[in-house]
Symmetry: C2
Subunit: 347 residues, 2 copies
Amino acid sequence: TLAAPAIAQSNPKVTWRLASSFPKSLDTIYGGAEVFSKMVSEATDGNFEVQVFAAGEIVPGLQAADAAASGTVEAAHTVSYYYWGKDPTWALGAAVPFALNARGMNAWQYHGGGIDLFNEFLATQGLIGFPGGNTGVQMGGWFRKEINTVADMKGLKMRIGGFAGKVVEKLGVVPQQIAGGDIYPALEKGTIDAAEWVGPYDDAKLGFQKVAPFYYYPGWWEGGPTVHLLFNKAKFEELPKNYQSLVRTAAQAEDANMLQKYDYLNPAAIKQLVANGAQLRPFSQEILAACFDAANEVYAEITASNANFKKIWDSIVAFRKEYYLNMQIAEYNYDTFMMVQQRGGKL
Amino acid sequence: TLAAPAIAQSNPKVTWRLASSFPKSLDTIYGGAEVFSKMVSEATDGNFEVQVFAAGEIVPGLQAADAAASGTVEAAHTVSYYYWGKDPTWALGAAVPFALNARGMNAWQYHGGGIDLFNEFLATQGLIGFPGGNTGVQMGGWFRKEINTVADMKGLKMRIGGFAGKVVEKLGVVPQQIAGGDIYPALEKGTIDAAEWVGPYDDAKLGFQKVAPFYYYPGWWEGGPTVHLLFNKAKFEELPKNYQSLVRTAAQAEDANMLQKYDYLNPAAIKQLVANGAQLRPFSQEILAACFDAANEVYAEITASNANFKKIWDSIVAFRKEYYLNMQIAEYNYDTFMMVQQRGGKL
């Protein structure tokens, strides 16, 4: 008989398809899936291939998770709040108003049980997922006119994501769902008054400052949005253990890498935007406080009736309080000093 | 002839030794190397083993990089500023006073050319390295008496790391080099007046608040210190390409993981420290400004004569200015609002 090789082949050939929710033009967020795919391929000498398809190539961007759940593809790279309409619990894996910033979200996910809690929920959808990117605090978006008071928000037609839309509705905003490519003409014609997209680097590509020059911050509904790598649960469990572990490691690396890329690219982009006519405006404290109260009303409504949501939200809230206590000590004071130097032209 | 297996074995057996600069008691920072080792081992079905040795097991903690450079071990997990006495350029891979915070450091390293720049220098030492952990902004340390003015710093005997020691010397501080385990008795006896260690979670284990209750912040000399995974360059280059890639991916994942762990553990630790008698004190603006000026004097002196240092420092400084401009827009305003809510008991 022929002797088997002494060491079993541990990198079997596996080819997966991944549906991204993003267009290729977003090299940051679409690019995250390519970074993940490259890490997995290189570590296995090309034996584990994850083919990345942009939004629309296999399924529309907002159906990426469904495609992975049904097995049309094995994987998706998406933001889980896109699916909040099925169940608002989906949004908690990504970002909800006035939750954790990027570092807090990662700390809660990786060490506070967040990944496991969200996977308990995802399992009911036939999925398993890991954080696979973060944009940092997003911007509050582009406004045709300045808004200073809560009264200015009444009747405002704003392109804003689903769950946040539910919050601003309480203040009289009329949320609009518009695909990325249709925002510019809608702002130009005045069909809408405002639109949020991502942050400086991604926004700069779309030229919004020409039609809606007031660029508000912060995007309080996305303090540290997690982009997810979602996998068909049965397909993931069929993977050899070494591939499962590699997927988790590469996801954690790619998760970090996306934020690192944004943090490197956004500074130059914000300067370019201002040079091109963007006018930076902070949301007033009155507006932020009203939005915070409105968000808390929404949380009270949902937790009263949705046990899945409540379980995860309670975990985030418990950590949020402690996290923001600690962050105002060393981190905040260091950053404040450095920012004062920057404004003083001393850096 | 015997046919070769159709697919070449891509996970050959490799066993490496890694010298950590840290004792096992620091589960955060020592634990980072174990996390890295587990990632690499699992992804290769146990074929690529990195055995982690605590400080003192093979070489003393502060000789970990030398052991990797000479080939005594293949790898080290260490902080590159420990070796600044050989050449201050070493410190730039880790942290120097008033440089970038953790997110900024990672952005510069992964997307601003920082990793390549530091590896140009490490190559001259026989090493190649990747970021393998970050603690976030450290605390300013434990003081037996309050210090409010620059005059209060004169003659102060403080246990403080090498490069930062060079800066505070300009203000009359007498820097002391004392191993971690010897700090407590030195503070208790009054042989030293102050000591910096790491941050809330690690510091809480040593009970400093009993002998030096004033806990100052921020640790302006360590805004976002990078812990490095360093490898013997020749040994790294002998690895198969898939292992080289896996090392980079696992390092990036572990780099993120350490900060995530600190960010999760520090909040509970700071509350415990305060409950146990620690008294939080911010460094006064007078002291911070004087330290900032002293640091700039040191940078001017070194860059005048050290081209390696100048090349890397110029790259950090160029990014630092842009980074801290951008961070004061969405990130700072979001965090500030959340901290105000925390202080108001609304989170």
